[in-house]
Structure formats: C-alpha cells, structure tokens
C-alpha cells in the first residue's frame, strides 16, 4: 500500500511530487479570523489607538516630563503673544475732558505695554462705563498697538443740593460729579430735597415753564418726596400739587402777569388743591392791612 501521507508534498518539502495548494488548517483559520469585521476594525483602529495611548501615558507618567511639556507649551504661547504685532503700547481716550480722561487712565487695569491676548476688552469697557461722568464707552484695539477708548460724557443740567452737598445731575437724574461750590456752575438750575434726583425730568420741565420768572427763581424743592415747591427770592414759595404741577405753575404765572401777584408781599401761593388756590400773606402785610382797616373806621 502506498503511504497515506505524502501523496502531495508541501511545497517547501522538496522537488518530489506535486505541490499541495491547500492552506494548512492554521493558515485557513487565521485568514478567516482576519476577515471577521470586528477583528479587522480592531486591528486597524483599536490596536494603533491602544499603542499610542499606552505610549503617551508611559511618557506622561513622569512628573518632570509633564512639567517640561507644560513649560514648552507655555513658552510657545508666550513667544507668540509677545510678538510686537500683538503688543498694545498706548491708550488713546477720545471724547472725554481732561479730568475724565485722567480718571479713565487710572481705572483701566492694564500696564502698558501689554499683549492684546491679555486684554479683556469687555471688562475694560465695563470698568469705564462704571465711572459716573461716562455715559457710553467703546473700546477696541486699533492697528499699531493702540487701545482706543471712545467715550461719551454725561452733560450736567441740574444741581442737586442734598445733605451730602452739591451734586451735578444729567437730564435723567444720574449723578455726574460732586460740586464744590455753587458758583462753579451759576447758570444751572438748582433742586433740593430728598428724592429730587428721581424726578429730574419733571424738574427740568418745571424750570422750562418757570422761564418768565427770570432771575427771581431760586430753585425747586421736593417736599415729602411727593411734590414740588418753587422757591423765589424774598422767601416766596409756590406750592405745587403732586398731580400736574406744570399746569398749576402756569396758572400762577398767568395770574401774576395780570394781577402782579408775586410782586406783592405774598409769602406763599398754595396751589395744592386745584379747586381752592390760596394766597398767604406775610405777617407784616397782614398787620398793615389790619391797621389800614382800623384807620378807615373800623370797617364802617
């Protein structure tokens, strides 16, 4: 009988006999294994990923290497940030007076030259608009390394006298600046009283209506945080109601125009009740009036 094995020799076995084209069982299984989708995916993606991850973790396990790596990164970052193209050297403030500009330069938290990466423009703008005399501000970095600040200042239109002293208010009643002396702004109208700054707009309208009084007008006083009194010289007062004070004032002025009411010796014109306007005379004139009536014969 012929040998059972070796009818076909393996190719490597020598020249005798025909080569066996069949794959060995191991090779066959290996090929099938390699054709399995999961295994293919794992070999193509999973194994490289695991290798890179392991190598990276092994390298970073050492403290000094980690620090060196961090230093390298921060050095590179600093080198880029400190290039002259990104440096900001000067701050330019436009639209503000000298003192406000000085204030702005003081409050902006940056010491020039500084990299534009380190500037937080949003915060700088918030700080600048936090200043009282500044209404709006726009902050940007202009080419050439200039921090440009465009400011719109508040315009003071009223002087408010309170227990703390004199203050300048703008048309919305917002505090602009402290005022040392009244005569620094002699042409601005004066208001007084607690809560007067909340009604600056109404006060301005009343001042507009009181134009005909001319230099006799001393100012407005907020009474009881409720209504206005118009204070004139010679200690005269016009007491206005809480509702529609402007119309009441116009009525008083009209009467005064015709009857010369305010030219007389009147202490106060009380307009608080619209249906019953009242005039209070000074003590002096009342006594005078009484004497004149007695001289005229006791009323008979």
């Amino acid at each position: 009988m012929q040998p059972l094995k070796g009818r076909f020799r393996r190719r490597s076995g020598g020249g005798e006999g025909r080569a066996d084209p069949a794959p060995s069982r191991l090779k066959y299984r290996l090929q099938r294994w390699m054709l399995t989708p999961g295994i293919r995916f794992g070999l193509r993606i999973g194994v490289p990923f695991c290798l890179i991850f392991a190598a990276g973790s092994a390298y970073l396990a050492d403290e000094t290497r980690r620090a060196a790596l961090q230093g390298l990164v921060s050095d590179a970052r600093a080198a880029i940030e400190e290039r002259p193209e990104f440096m900001v050297n000067v701050m330019a403030v436009d639209g503000a007076g000298a003192s406000v500009a000085q204030d702005i330069r003081e409050v902006v938290p940056a010491d020039f030259p500084v990299s534009s990466f380190d500037l937080d423009l949003e915060r700088i703008r918030d700080v600048i608009t936090g200043l009282d005399p500044v209404k709006t501000a726009r902050v940007r970095i202009r080419p050439g390394g200039i921090l440009q600040v465009d400011v719109e200042e508040r315009v003071p239109v009223l002087i408010w006298r309170s227990r703390e002293g004199l203050a300048l208010l703008d048309e919305n009643g917002i505090h602009v600046a402290e005022l040392g002396r009244r005569n620094l702004h002699p042409n601005l109208p004066l208001i007084a009283g607690k809560g007067a700054d909340q009604h600056a707009a109404q006060a301005l309208r009343l001042f507009a209506a009181a134009k005909p009084l001319g230099p006799r007008l001393r100012g407005l006083v907020r009474v009881g945080e409720r209504r206005w009194d118009v204070v004139l010289d010679r200690k005269q007062r016009i007491m206005l109601p809480a509702e529609q004070p402007q119309r009441a004032l116009e009525r008083v002025l009209a009467v005064s125009e015709v009857q010369d009411l305010l030219e007389r010796d009147v202490a106060a014109v009380d307009m608080r009740l619209a249906g019953r306007p009242t005039v209070r005379m000074t003590e002096n004139s009342v006594e005078n009036w009484w004497r004149i009536r007695q001289l005229n014969g006791g009323g008979q």
Binding site: F8, P21, A22, P23, R29, R32, L35, T36
Partner: protein, 444 residues
C-alpha cells in the same frame, strides 16, 4: 420522519440566518473540481406580486462576489472517499473565494452528484372538511403521503410537492383557498446514501463552516441549464461531470425524476491513458485540446504528439492520428449516452409532451457531442450553459459550472419542500400538552 423534518428545518433556519447576514457560500463538490462561489444578498429582487419572474430572471437579489475553483481530490463518482484530501481541497476553494470576496463566510450550501440518487413518486388523497382548501389541509395531505421503504442507510434530500389535484382538476400550483371535495397531491422524493451525505457534512464542519442547505447536483444543474419554457414543458438535463453523469427531468417547473450514471469524463481520460499508454495528465490534455467523437478524413492526417516522460526518446516522441484518439473516445461516450438513454427510458421520458434534452457539465464540451447525442437520445438535443448571474466571472460561465450556478438560484429562490409546511398535529411527538398548545395556536 420527524427526524427528517427536524434536520431539514434546522438547515432552513441556517439558510435564513445566512440570508439575514447577507453572505453565503456555494460549494459544488465534484469529482474533477471543487467550485466555491460567495454570494451577497442585497435583499431586493423578490418575485413580483403576480408571481411572474421579473427582469434578470428574478436573480437581481444576489451577486457573486467571490469565485474560486480547485482541482478536486479524494472524490470519486461524486462521493467522498478520502476525507482529509477533500477537506483540504474545500479549504483551498473556500479560502480563495473568501479572499476574492474580502468577507468571511460561515454558511455553505453544498451539492454533490453521486451517492446513488433514487427517485420516488408519492401521492396521497384527502377528503376536505370544509369546502375551501386551507393551509392546514395542504400540510395534512402532504403528511399523509405514504413513504415507501427506501431502505436503511438512505436519506431524503429533496421531497417536493409537484402537483395538486382538486376533485377532477389537476395541475394546480397552489390549491389554497380553492373550492372542492377531495384534495390529492403528487410528490417527488429523492433519496441518497446517508453515508455520502454524512461524509460531506463532516468535511464541511471540519472546515469551520455551517451547512445551510444541501442539494443534488442533478437538480441544481437542471435549475440553471434549462430555460424557463423547457422547465415548464418538460425536458431532461444531463450533467456530464468528471466522475458521474447526473440526469434530471423537469416538468411544470418541478423536478420529477433524477438519477445518476456512475460514468463520466474521467473514464474517457483513463481510456485514453490506457489506450495510448500515456500519463493521466497527458491524456486529459489530449482529450481537452484534440478530443472529438466524429472522425472525418482530415483526422487521419492530423497527428498529435502524445508525449511522455520516460526518458526514452523514441517513446516520448510518439504520435497518434486524431482518428485514433476519436476511436478511443467514441465508444466510451456512446456507452455513457446509452446508459443515460436506459435510465430515461426506465423513467418513461418518452411519454412527456416535450422531449428536449440539454447536455451540460464539463464533459459536454467534447467536440461533436451534440451530433452523437442526437443519434442516441433523440432529435431534440442542445448544449446548455448555465444562466448568467450577477458578478459571475467569465471563467465560471462554462457548462462545467451549471450546478454551481444552479445552486445560487436554489439559494436565492428555494422551492417549497415537504418540511416547509406545518407539520400536522398527528405527526407531533408531543402528547396532550403539545396538542393543547397547537390548538391554541390554531384558534387564537
């Protein structure tokens, strides 16, 4: 019987799994070559609503993505006789096909030609309970077929209902829902030697593959080599392979008879080898390049170097005339065809309305075979090639691949077999509990 149901259903289940995964391998284990095709199923290409076959003959659902052939070893007469060798050959083919397809296949549908196939016709009759045929009654009539004694050591590989008859109307394809009194069925059953099947199953399992179906190659090659009208009107497909020649007779698109002759191309080669005194490989080469079955006057002058490697100069320079070669080949071819003729006569092929005969298989490429065959088998003989399927490489379109291609079609559109129908209650081995469960399933 129950055993058969279970094993075949397990294979069906496996096939369904393979279809879901989308990749299945086709393995044609022949005596001269082993072919492996890898199919990918796209899911499209179902048969249309009216059951007609659409464009591309209904095979647009799959595509051949890998094909490989290898010289068969350890297979004789279509049966495995050296398992180690066959296993290695299968491994070679599967590996090459997988490599071409770049995908791993786990499920295999295999066919083989030998193992003495034997056909049986079964019939059965059933009185219907109602007027209308229900699916349950179809299953019942199928189950009530009387199974003949096919002998120990044999196994059923195909059992297909071929024809249904309702009262006196016959030739129904699908009797469900039709009105009638009695339902009759004709069935065709094919048995083969169980040992051959078991050897094949074992070989495939040793290659780490799962068997998802098994078919007779007579059936598979008839499926691919016969065109539709031939299958419908009646035709015989003769697959002349290397070790055996298988015969299948089709009628109304069903196989009604199958048989195999244990003679094939290898016998012609060995005749040449013996007659001329040359090695088998030389004889094979001479047969394929110069072979023929009709001698003409010119063939006397056509000298063929037959060669040899003995080292004797005179011996190695021998020549024969082509007429001599034909003289050796022709008796053997005639013998094969005569044998086929006897088998067809035994099956009653002459009573079919159409007697078309289609020759396919590797040995059908012998020059002049159709002329010789028409003298022996009848006038209507043609040479058949397998249908074209998507992606089949040019090298695998020859008649030698008829059964492999047929198996592709079988995988894509399997015919209903006995075990595809619900097994009726009386066949269930379970007792009352099983019957109760079944009653619930039927009624709810």
């Amino acid at each position: 019987m129950t055993d058969l149901y279970q094993s075949q259903r397990a294979m069906r289940q496996m096939r369904r799994q393979a279809m879901q995964r989308g990749v299945v391998a086709i393995l044609d284990v022949g005596s001269s070559k082993i072919a492996c095709l890898v199919l990918r199923f796209d899911g499209s290409g179902r048969l249309s609503e009216d059951g007609s076959i659409g464009a591309l003959a209904g095979q647009s659902g799959f595509r051949v993505i890998g094909a490989a052939t290898t010289r068969s070893r350890g297979v004789q007469f279509g049966e495995i006789n050296a398992m180690q060798e066959t296993e290695r050959a299968i491994r070679t083919a599967v590996q090459a096909a997988q490599k071409m397809a770049e995908v791993r296949v786990d499920h295999v549908i295999a066919c083989f030609s030998g193992a003495n196939p034997r056909s049986y016709g079964l019939d059965s009759k059933l009185d219907l309970e109602g007027q209308v045929v229900s699916e349950h009654e179809v299953a019942q009539v199928l189950a009530s077929c009387e199974v003949p004694e096919y002998g120990a050591g044999r196994e059923v590989i195909h059992a297909q209902p071929v024809n249904f008859a309702l009262d006196n109307r016959s030739g129904l394809g699908d009797p469900r829902g039709q009105m009638g009194q009695t339902l009759a069925v004709d069935m065709h059953m094919l048995t083969v030697d169980a040992i051959a099947v078991q050897n094949l199953v074992r070989c495939i399992q040793r290659c780490d593959l799962e068997l998802a179906g098994i078919a007779s190659s007579a059936y598979a090659s008839g499926f691919s080599a016969l065109v539709e009208d031939e299958q419908e009107l009646g035709a015989a497909c003769i697959d002349m392979g290397g070790g055996s020649t298988s015969i299948s007779v089709f009628m109304k698109k069903h196989m009604i008879y199958a048989d195999a002759v244990r003679l094939g191309g290898d016998h012609i080669t060995s005749d040449i080898s013996m007659g001329l005194g040359v090695p088998l490989t030389n004889a094979e080469r001479i047969k394929t390049f110069c072979g023929g079955v009709h001698a003409t006057g010119a063939d006397d002058r056509d000298m063929i170097d037959i060669g040899g490697d003995t080292g004797d100069w005179e011996h190695d320079r021998r020549t024969v005339s082509r007429a001599e070669l034909i003289g050796i080949m022709r008796p053997r071819v005639e013998e094969i065809l005569e044998e086929v003729r006897t088998r067809l006569d035994a099956a009653g092929f002459e009573y079919l309305p159409s007697q078309q005969i289609v020759l396919t298989g590797g040995s059908s490429q012998i020059m002049g075979l159709d002329g010789l065959a028409s003298r022996i088998l009848g006038q209507q003989v043609r040479l058949g090639r397998p249908l074209r399927v998507h992606g089949l490489p040019q090298s695998a379109t020859g008649p030698g691949f008829a059964s492999a291609v047929g198996l592709c079609l079988f995988a894509a559109h399997p015919q209903d077999e006995w075990w595809d129908f619900e097994m009726p209650a009386s066949r269930h081995p379970a007792g009352t509990l099983g019957r109760a469960v079944r009653w619930f399933r039927d009624n709810w």
